[in-house]
Symmetry: C2
Subunit: 402 residues, 2 copies
């Protein structure tokens, strides 16, 4: 095992914020600062862009109680970045890290961030510059390979589950068709969480559409009509990234007729377009009067009142594990979460290869999707419930006549 190199550390946060991304940052900081080899612990402001701009915040002297409060605050305290550094970009980053005598680099993010770590790690190796590079996993999409699940997912899933529990009650009180659009471009994990609060057979969502299954317009209309005819209502969960058999996103397909008005600015999040188009579509094609759509949007990843305790703990721990591994010798990698057992729920952490995570997308397991492709199986609830934690208790009146 190599000796522990002395130097400074840099921590960055990348991509879409989560409710627990600061837990991971604090986990790294509180562990690193125990080590005498570590000088300054520098947070880079707005991810890799902060390194490029030589913009850092010193974190090593922040009192623990303040760190704890930061950890409990959603969204990236250091600021985040959507930059996807290529090799030339990484070369510039490496120059700054060298100049600042940085020997430990931690990047909290999704699979793009693990690729950034990988490239910087390679550049350091080439230069014979000793640099520990660690990717700390984070994404509400839950789409990192090798991981049982990723920090950030449990809290976003809790928000989605609670939102659907409430919307089920709302739709029960004032029936009609209701479409809720959930984040998820390629992976349906977050949309699947819409089913976690279901208790009774009549509970919403009644239909679930994820990017893993090609969206069949005719079948969709048929399903909606069938359920509406049977119960007088229908609540639908759909991922923002649903697409047809050719891979064309439904949002662009349905939006064609107004593309000129929209100036081709079709984006998936931060717009209600997909929900509105699906609602309009149902109104045009089916004989159903009350059709509404909500798009949950950024609330899913930033709402301050709906954090999963398990998610918060694990996010803290992946940060600590990254720092511990970095202090243990000549190792670089990505912290991976493995589930040891489901009952009682228990996980372990290990260091995975940076290259085995970068650029890959995990999809919703086939066993979590019903054969018809329009709902989620009970197996998913077994998988996801421990990540989300307890949901509020609700109690209904049975609508039997007096």
């Amino acid at each position: 095992m190599a000796s522990i190199v002395k130097g400074n550390a840099v921590i960055g946060q990348s991509g879409g914020p989560t409710a627990v991304i600061n837990q991971s940052m604090v986990g790294v900081v509180e562990t690193l600062r125990e080590a005498p080899e570590i000088g300054k612990i520098l947070g880079c402001v707005h991810g890799v862009r902060g390194i490029l701009n030589d913009e850092f915040i010193e974190l090593q002297d922040i009192p623990q109680d303040r760190l704890n409060r930061i950890a409990n605050t959603p969204s990236a305290a250091l600021g985040s970045s959507r930059d996807k550094p290529d090799e030339a970009y990484c070369r510039k980053l490496f120059t700054v890290l060298e100049k600042r005598d940085v020997r430990y680099f931690f990047y909290i993010g999704g699979n793009d961030s693990s690729d950034t770590c990988r490239i910087i790690n390679e550049l350091a190796n080439e230069a014979g510059y000793e640099l520990r590079c660690f990717h700390v996993p984070k994404t509400i999409d839950n789409d990192l390979v090798m991981n049982d699940h990723t920090p950030g997912y449990g809290s976003a899933a809790k928000f989605v589950a609670e939102a659907f529990m409430g919307d089920n009650l709302d739709n029960r009180a004032l029936p009609g068709v209701k479409i809720n659009i959930v984040m998820g471009r390629h992976a349906g994990f977050l949309t699947a969480a819409s089913t976690l609060g279901r208790r009774h057979i009549e509970d919403a969502p009644h239909l679930v559409y994820v990017p893993e299954v090609a969206f069949d317009d005719e079948q969709f209309l048929h399903d909606v009509q069938r359920i509406y005819d049977a119960s007088g209502r229908c609540v639908i969960a759909a991922s923002e990234g649903i697409h047809d058999a050719d891979g064309t996103p439904i949002i662009t397909k349905l939006a064609q007729e107004v593309e000129q008005d929209q100036h081709g600015n079709v984006q998936l999040s931060g717009t209600g377009a997909l929900g509105d188009f699906l609602a309009d579509h149902i109104r045009k094609k089916l004989d159903i009067k009350r059709v509404r759509a909500d798009t949950f949007g950024y609330l899913q990843r930033s709402f301050v009142g709906s954090t999963s305790g398990t998610d918060a703990e694990e996010a803290r721990q992946v940060g600590r594990e990254a720092a511990k591994a970095a202090m243990a010798g000549d190792v670089d990698g990505s912290i991976v979460i493995e589930r040891v057992s489901n009952d009682p729920y228990r996980v372990r952490y290990r260091v995975g290869e940076l290259s085995s995570i970068a650029g890959k997308t995990r999809h919703l397991d086939r066993e979590f999707i019903t054969d018809a492709g329009n709902d989620i199986t009970p197996a998913f609830k077994q998988y996801a419930s421990p990540l989300v934690g307890p949901l509020p208790e609700i109690e209904l009146l049975r609508m039997s006549r007096a």
Copy 2:
């Protein structure tokens, strides 16, 4: 004081559900069933429509612990209705109430519901049929006159405040312009709640637009550009019901160019149209790249994880007060909440005239809106904070360079 008439009771829930509307129902039930004069306590399914259809659920024998769980469950457990009964409709209702030997009628809802109570009360008086009619206040819009505030508002306001706290952090991490559309057709109380989580001068929302102030498009664009130029970001709270000086809703104004595609189906809630149009408008007119819009939609009134404790207690109490007043003699009316003191926060309940609430809309007090008409004053926070209760603590990193 008149003698207490023996007979059955009917309770109904009307209009948009709230997080605490079942508290009020349970408050009525648990108080009424103490009285020996009361026979059956019948919940009408889907409001007045349930009376019309003779569709009732017996509530008098539900065990208290189950009642408590129903009380803690958001959205109308009896089902709700959007019907606005005229005199002919009320005459039919009265016929059913008479037939069922109903002597106590409680309707939980907004000002339309108080008008329903008023008409039915008049019909009963004309017929010489003794019937106690009580309106129990409920609306997330907080727009009932005579009341300091209304049950349902505090919880919806808490959701909006928490959503903006999170979105402020999200926008701080990934800056740009963000528009959030909040419910409120005529009254800006709920949109004003977006400001309750602000702690620092730079906290969002940076601009707030309510229906009480005519929306000036040019001034809006000017304001957005000014704030974006100063801080690199701008979070906007806007009521769904904002309109121009002529009273034309902005959603219809901006939607004109795509009205054919939308089939004129312009509705305010359950669509992302207003947010999307405002975002598109900023993109077209200003040189700002990242512009996003979210529409909070039905989550504001039904989310299961964000109920205000004060709101829940008061919603329960207005139900109890209505039942107590009905049992006290020949009185009909609407339960009114008055604030006795702000520190400590304390309210009292009294019976108001049905006719003085019906058909009237309370608006956001002028002192709660800044002179420029694009923000909310600190006086509003004093007013609304006790209704919402404590908000999550957050802690930021100061973005000062290392």
